[in-house]
């Protein structure tokens, strides 16, 4: 671990999400549905100098691992992120996020007139396109504001 990362305390067991684009850390927490009330230990480093990204954010969550759908959505707002699984202070697994082809059931459609917002028994489904996601039902494209529409 580099000197810079020591600014955020080490964790015994849990997940470290590193190389998050600067400024996205709180959105990462939103994707994970973490607001502090769950009781997990959470450390956030923001705008930490990074060779790769210039400035990056780091999120460390104790006693919590991530589901695939969380990782999928994470990849949309933090395409460079690495996900480190920590057990007994050691990184036991290190994964890069990969952009999925589709994201099902995690985002809500911003189009109020979309059938997915009409009380139907239906999961949202978005195709991942060049610089955003696109509702499979109404074709609305969502770009910069993806984090505002997370519905996990």
């Amino acid at each position: 671990m580099s000197e810079h990362e020591l600014r955020v305390s080490k964790i015994r067991d849990g997940t470290v999400i590193d190389h998050v684009e600067g400024g996205q850390a709180l959105n990462v927490l939103a994707i994970l549905g973490i607001d502090g009330s769950e009781g997990f230990g959470v450390s956030v480093g923001m705008n930490v100098p990074s060779d790769r990204l210039g400035r990056k954010d780091i999120v460390k969550v104790e006693d919590r691992e991530l589901s695939q759908s969380e990782v999928d959505v994470l990849s949309l707002i933090a395409p460079e992120a690495t996900i480190n699984i920590v057990r007994d202070f050691e990184v036991v697994e290190k994964n890069r996020v990969t952009r999925p082809d589709t994201v099902t059931g995690v985002l809500s459609c911003p189009n109020r007139n979309c059938i997915t917002n009409a009380d139907e028994p239906i999961e949202t489904r978005f195709d991942v396109v060049a610089d955003g996601v696109r509702c499979d039902y109404c074709a609305t494209i969502l770009r910069a504001d993806i984090a505002d529409h997370i519905d996990v």
Binding site: I115, A118, E120, P121, V129, D136, Y137, C138, A139, I141
Partner: protein, 315 residues
């Protein structure tokens, strides 16, 4: 066309379009040959918002193929307003009919319906989304006048909420067409439609005024600008007035310009245009019947590939 449903025009290939339009021409040439083609089959007309013309056009098309039609009656008194989901409604109706025509106020409704049922679903308009059967009849009308390649078309009016525009623009990318989009800034094409057009490498230009492009056009497709889209009625009148054409406007157009409109119109095309050689909107509406006959025939054939064996009709 090897599809089960017709949900959006983006799903249509050039081949699909030409298959339906060729068949529409055959239907128009010899309607009697198609009269009993689907006798005994039932078409459900599910209109969750009123559209008398589109409903009658499908109804007429089905009956001219020998089909019976059923519908939901007045939507306000049906279970729809009592909270039944669209998913459940179409599943129930699937058991009553061989195909479903769906008009719904929400974008994506037809996609959902198509996922829920096995009988063919035709999207007859989903909110501000798509209206692909209208597009087929629009293309039929254009093809009869100009062909579909080497075409320069102007599409004017409400491009943002105009589902007929979204479908037409997508379908034209299958052909060699230059598309000019003419609208006020606030009613430009939505991002998703522009995205698809750019993906296909389509030749498109956007304008706020028609005058600079009018004389280049083979086709001018006019749509209605709706008052509800403007919070301020004065602003509506100002904008609507700028996107209105009359016979005098068309003095600057090519002699063989075709003027089209999905109808109903309010005052975006002055009645004096009706008397010019440019007006084609009533024929366009009439083309709805043979084109929808051809469409239903094609979809039902796909759904029942062996059912028509032994008929005498030459395809």
């Amino acid at each position: 066309m090897r599809q089960d449903h017709l949900i959006t025009a983006t799903q249509l290939s050039r081949d699909d379009i030409e298959t339906v339009l060729d068949r529409a021409r055959a239907v128009a040439d010899d309607p009697a040959a198609y009269a009993d083609r689907h006798a005994g089959r039932v078409l459900a007309l599910c209109f969750f918002e009123p559209s008398t013309r589109t409903r009658m056009s499908f109804d007429s098309a089905a009956k001219r193929l020998g089909m019976n039609t059923i519908d939901m009656g007045d939507v306000d008194s049906s279970s729809v307003s009592k909270g039944e989901s669209l998913s459940d409604t179409v599943r129930v109706i699937e058991g009553y009919a061989d195909a479903i025509v769906l008009r719904h106020p929400s974008e994506g409704a037809a996609t959902l319906a198509g996922e829920r049922v096995d009988v063919p679903v035709v999207n007859a308009g989903d909110g501000a989304g798509q209206h692909p059967s209208q597009t087929l009849l629009d293309l039929h009308t254009i093809r009869e006048d100009h062909g579909l390649d080497d075409l320069t078309i102007g599409i004017m009016g409400d491009l943002k909420y105009g589902r007929t525009v979204h479908s037409l623009a997508a379908a034209l990318t299958e052909f060699d067409a230059n598309q000019h989009f003419i609208s006020p800034e606030s009613l430009r094409l939505p991002r998703s439609v522009r995205f698809d057009l750019h993906e296909t490498g389509a030749q498109i230009r956007e304008h706020e005024e028609i005058e600079p492009v009018l004389d280049e056009l083979d086709v001018l497709y006019v749509t209605r600008i709706q008052k509800e889209r403007f919070p301020d009625e004065n602003e509506y009148h100002r904008v609507a007035g700028e996107y209105r054409i009359d016979a005098e406007t068309l003095d600057a157009a090519a002699d063989d310009l075709t003027v089209m409109h999905p109808l109903p119109r309010v005052d975006e095309i002055a009645p004096d245009v009706d008397e010019t050689d440019h007006a084609r909107y009533f024929e366009q509406a009439h083309n709805g019947v043979p084109v929808r006959m051809a469409l239903l025939d094609t979809l039902l054939e796909n759904a029942n590939p062996d059912a028509d064996e032994g008929t005498e009709v030459d395809r």
